[in-house]
Each structure stands twice: as structure tokens, then as C-alpha cells.
């Protein structure tokens, strides 16, 4: 699912945490001491707490039940031989499935494809998204029109867009295929991958741009004017004034887009159906589960994808520490 709008407020969360006295890590002892000094709690305070828990409970419950339990169950399934076509042969096999998957060429091909798509699309989107963000933020004419237009790729159903690209590149039917002498680019690996990336970039650049625009709004206008008066060129204003202020927004956008890009599925499903070695890891997991009905292997891939995503998130947080949501408590204060 490439439309995952969730990161939008991530920064807000980071800010919200920064606003709180004491970061997350400091939270526990501090709260304890606060609680100690405040005891006994006033009725009002106690009611407030109870209301807080009551209001949060349903959301927390749903989120944890639908993700934590299945992922644990997935780990359990991944340790079994479990093929729905041969349910009688179900048995505990330890890490055998992991060995099977990790020594399988299809898996590593899909992994490579996914990594390639992720790196290329996120890099291109960062550049295009920055351009689009600047246009949406600073244009002197038609700001409403340009923002409305940019929201269309963001909002459109990925599958619909994918069909549009597929028919555009279908020989005979498509306006784009005909530009290239009616060749059939979706039947070859390199050109298929290029088209998948094009479709991804078209769809998600506006979202990247919106996140970046949020950062752009933080750049003080006076600072730009001052830089301009001092004779800074447009490029200098961009690199010396805007980029440093925008850094947190850029990193949040990068993190979320990277994780989102890594789960690429819809576009590949429609454009090539994984043919010519264009499967992503998500595609492969889907094929093993729904087409192969192999729950054991499917779950193993699920777990491996989960671990990969966790590693990516961890690396981002480690590398860019201060800017990663939820980890900036101490340094911001």
C-alpha cells in the first residue's frame, strides 16, 4: 500500500514529546517522583487520569491486538511446515523455513529488486519532492491550482494509477509505448523495473513534497531576506539557510518514504505481476501465501520483512538520532 499518510504527524509527535518536560527515557523516574510529591492525588487529578486511560484504551487495544498478536503468531507459524494443500504434514521444523528462504535465489532476487526500487525511488522523490515543495510553497501564481493538482497522485488509488501506466506502455494501445516504436517494455526486466519506479515516483512524490513543505514553512522569511540582502545567491539561500532548518523534516520524510517504498506491492502486481524477475519481497510473500498456500514459508517471509524494516528504522534512528521521531527528547531541550 503506497498511500500511507501516517508519517504526516510524526513530527508533531516528536514536537509534542519535546514540549513535555523530560524525554521519553527520562519520563519514568520523573513521573514517579512527580507522583510521589503529588500524593495523595486530588480527586480531580485522579478523574483526569481515569478519563485519559478510558479514552485511549479502545485505540490502543485495537492497534495492539491487530498487530502484536498476529506478528507473534507469524513467528510461531514460521517455525512450522504448514502447507494448506497438505494440512496433515503440519509439524514443527524449527528454523528450517528460514534456511529454505534465505538460501533461495528467488528471495534474494526479490530482495535486490525491492532494495533497488527503494533506493532509486526515494532518492528521485527527494529531489523532485523538494522542487515540488518549493513550487507549492513559493509560487507567485496559481498556488491553489498547483496544490490541488499535486494532491491527485497522492489521493488516487494506486491500482488505478498502475492500470493507467500499464495501458500507456501496452504496445498499440498506449500513447507512451508508441513513442518508442511500439516495443513492449513491460515484457523486459530492465524496462519493467523502470516503469514500476516511474509509477511509484509519480504516485508518492506529492506526499514527499507535502512533508517537505511542512519543513519549508519553518524557514523564517526574514532570514531569507537578510541572506538575499547580503548577496547570497538562490542556491546559497537554499543550501545555507533552508536546508539546515528543514533537516528534521527531510529526515522524517526520508524515513517514512523508505519504509513505505520497501513494501512496494500494488504497482508491481498490476504492472508485471512479478514476471521477469520483478517481484518485490511483498509480492513473493503474497505468492507463497495465496497462490502457493504455503503458510509456513509465507510467514517466514513476513517475519523476515518485519525484521528488515525494523533494521532500516533502527539505522535511521541511530544515524540521524536527533531528527528521528520519538528519539529527540534529550537533545531538543
Amino acid at each position: 500500500m503506497s498511500v500511507n499518510a501516517t508519517p504526516a504527524g510524526a513530527q508533531a509527535a516528536a514536537e509534542a514529546e519535546a514540549e513535555q518536560p523530560g524525554g521519553r527515557h527520562a519520563a519514568v523516574p520523573e513521573q514517579r517522583s512527580r507522583r510521589g510529591s503529588r500524593a495523595p492525588l486530588s480527586d480531580n487529578k485522579r478523574a483526569e487520569r481515569r478519563l485519559g486511560w478510558l479514552l485511549c484504551a479502545p485505540a490502543a487495544l485495537v492497534m495492539v491486538l491487530v498487530t502484536a498478536y498476529p506478528i507473534l503468531y507469524s513467528v510461531w507459524l514460521s517455525l512450522q511446515r504448514f502447507d494448506l494443500r497438505f494440512p496433515d504434514e503440519r509439524e514443527f521444523v524449527g528454523l528450517e523455513n528460514y534456511v529454505t528462504v534465505l538460501t533461495n535465489d528467488f528471495w534474494w532476487t526479490a530482495f535486490g529488486v525491492t532494495a533497488l526500487i527503494t533506493v532509486v525511488t526515494v532518492a528521485v522523490e527527494l529531489v523532485l519532492g523538494m522542487g515540488l515543495a518549493l513550487i507549492m510553497h513559493r509560487t507567485l501564481v496559481g498556488r491553489g491550482i498547483v496544490r490541488t493538482a499535486a494532491l491527485i497522485p497522492y489521493g488516487i488509488v494506486t491500482v488505478v494509477a498502475a492500470f493507467s501506466w500499464r495501458y500507456a506502455w501496452t504496445p498499440g494501445t498506449g500513447y507512451l509505448a508508441n513513442l518508442f516504436d511500439g516495443s513492449a517494455p513491460l515484457t523486459e526486466r530492465a524496462s519493467s523495473l523502470a516503469i514500476i519506479m516511474l509509477a511509484e515516483i509519480w504516485k508518492t512524490t506529492p506526499f514527499m513534497a507535502l512533508l517537505l513543505m511542512a519543513g519549508l514553512a519553518l524557514v523564517p522569511e526574514d532570514l531569507l531576506k537578510a541572506a538575499s540582502t547580503d548577496g547570497a545567491t538562490a542556491w546559497q539561500r537554499f543550501t545555507k539557510v533552508m536546508l539546515p532548518v528543514m533537516k528534521p523534516a527531510i529526515l522524517v520524510a526520508l524515513l517514512f518514504r523508505t519504509l513505505d517504498a520497501f513494501r512496494v506491492f500494488d504497482n508491481i502486481f498490476v504492472l508485471t505481476n512479478g514476471g521477469n524477475e520483478t517481484s518485490s519481497v511483498s509480492m513473493l510473500a503474497y505468492n507463497n501465501l495465496i497462490r502457493g498456500l504455503n503458510l509456513g514459508i509465507g510467514s517466514t517471509m513476513s517475519v523476515l520483512i518485519f525484521i528488515t524494516v525494523a533494521i532500516i528504522a533502527f539505522v535511521f534512528v541511530k544515524l540521524f538520532g536527533t531528527a528521528a521521531p520519538g528519539s529527540d527528547d534529550g537533545e531538543r531541550r
Binding site: 510524526a10 479502545p58 491487530v66 488509488v157 488505478v160
Partner: protein, 278 residues
């Protein structure tokens, strides 16, 4: 002199605007154009139709396959949106207003869910839902949609709630209203625009989903349109379904276009407000 520079600057920006608009619209116009082409001209490779027809639309609305999928799509997305927004509003209010232990934990969990690879849930949910009898039902899709929409709802709403003049709440409480009453009578009406914007974003998210819809359904009973498109065969089995697929695709794009046209400002502020606030 100064006037001249502004005119030139405006022209330059205008040119860039045009590039963006064309880039954004071409794929949408293309699939719309295909949906209006007659079968004879469908494969002519022209960007605009030479002969216009509404036959493709007639075909899809005559088939149960599409109508049923459309009902599923609308119903599932609306219910999931309603529940996610209600739960999200409650949680966001607590996060932005109340002081209670565990608040940061909830924010952290939401963040983790936002980063969660949904495909990792596909295998276990498939098996769990089969056992619970939720497989291929509306609730079977609504549940994961709510889950993954909640972080979005909570963040967006928290950002909106921070902009509300909370002194009004204090005033209401001074006048004897309880916390709950202050929430319902004073804050809820003020929060309505933010809630509405969040609802749009959540709806778009549910409307868009393909991964869960294709793995957790198996029949027309709960197949949504993005999934049904994969199974289109055209009027007869031997007919090229391209026209029908494009028409169906256009139908499910219409609500998105309407949202974007009417609520552009809200959607942009909803997606950026969180970050701007800081």
C-alpha cells in the same frame, strides 16, 4: 523595472506550475480517455478518443461484479473511517489535553504501527481470520483498516486539537461542567473541522488499500473495487476488459477528485499541520 521583474518571475512560476499540473494529470486523463473509447478505437494509441462512448460505463453498472464491489468498497471504507475517527478523536483528545501515565507509550505505539510493514501481517491474519470466520467478510477488512488508520487519525487530530483555544474549556468547567461535558459541548464543535479533515484522509487511506483486500477476501462478498478490477473479464469471457477496467477505475477516482477539488486546503493543512506546528 520592478514591475517587469515581477511579471517575469510570475511567468517563470506559471511555467513551473504548468509542468506540475501536466505531470499530475496526464495519467488520470489517459485512463479517463481510454474509458470513453469505443472497442474499435481502444487500441489506436491516440491520447484522446476519436469516437466517444459511454458503453463501458453501461457495461460495468450492468454487471453484479462491479456494483457489488463498489458497495463493498464504500461500505467498508465508510465504517472503518467512522470507527477510526471516533477512536482516534478520543485518544487524540486525551493525548493533547490530559495528563496521565502511559501517554508517551501510546504515541510510541502509534508511531511503530505507522512504520509497520503491512505485508508482515498478511500471512498470520489470513490464518487467524480463517479460524475466526472473519475471512472474506467486511469486518475482516475493517479491522486492519482501523488499525493502520489510527496512527494517522491520532497524529492529525492531536495537531488540530493543539490549535483549539482551550481556555473555553476551562471557562466551561468553571461554570460547573464536568470534563466530559466540556469535551462534548465546547470542544467537539470547535474540533469538528479537524475531525472532518481527518475523516477525509482516513477514507482515502481505506479506499486505496489493495494488499489487505486481495489477501483477506476470496469472493464478491467482500471484494473491493481495486481487487475486483483484477478479475474483470469484460462482457463475455473473450472480450478485452480494458474498457471496462478503465471505466471502473474512473468511477472510483471520482470521489478522490471531488475531495481534492473541494477540500484541497484542508487536506494540505491536515497532512502538514503536525510538522508546521513546531
Amino acid at each position: 523595472m520592478a514591475v517587469e521583474t515581477t511579471t517575469r518571475a510570475k511567468l517563470r512560476w506559471g511555467l513551473l506550475d504548468v509542468v506540475v499540473v501536466v505531470f499530475a494529470l496526464v495519467p488520470v486523463l489517459w485512463i479517463a480517455s481510454l474509458s470513453f473509447k469505443t472497442p474499435a478505437t481502444l487500441t489506436d494509441g491516440k491520447f484522446w478518443p476519436r469516437e466517444w462512448t459511454l458503453d463501458n460505463y453501461r457495461t460495468i453498472f450492468d454487471t453484479d461484479q462491479f456494483v457489488r464491489a463498489l458497495v463493498n468498497s464504500i461500505g467498508i471504507a465508510l465504517i472503518a473511517t467512522a470507527i477510526a475517527v471516533v477512536l482516534g478523536t478520543m485518544a487524540a483528545y486525551a493525548i493533547s489535553r490530559l495528563d496521565f501515565p502511559g501517554k508517551k507509550l501510546l504515541v510510541g505505539v502509534s508511531l511503530l504501527i505507522a512504520m509497520f510493514p503491512q505485508v508482515s501481517l498478511v500471512s498470520p491474519l489470513f490464518e487467524i481470520e480463517r479460524q475466526l470466520g472473519l475471512f472474506d467478510t467486511w469486518p475482516g477488512l475493517i479491522l486492519p483498516y482501523i488499525t493502520f488508520a489510527l496512527p494517522l487519525a491520532i497524529y492529525t487530530l492531536s495537531a488540530f486539537f493543539k490549535q483549539i483555544p482551550w481556555d473555553l474549556e476551562k471557562a466551561a468547567k468553571m461554570d460547573g461542567a464536568t470534563q466530559g461535558q466540556a469535551f462534548r459541548r465546547v470542544i467537539a464543535p470547535l474540533a469538528a473541522p479537524g475531525v472532518f479533515t481527518t475523516a477525509i484522509l482516513v477514507f482515502i487511506f481505506c479506499w486505496n488499500d489493495f494488499l489487505f483486500a486481495i489477501t483477506l477476501t476470496s469472493t464478491e462478498r467482500s471484494r473491493t473495487v481495486p481487487v475486483a478490477l483484477q478479475f474483470f473479464t469484460g462482457e463475455s469471457q473473450f472480450e478485452d476488459p480494458t474498457g471496462a477496467i478503465c471505466a471502473a477505475a474512473v468511477v472510483i477516482t471520482v470521489p478522490i477528485i471531488l475531495f481534492v477539488l473541494f477540500f484541497q486546503r484542508r487536506i494540505v493543512s491536515g497532512l502538514t499541520s503536525g510538522a508546521v506546528k513546531g
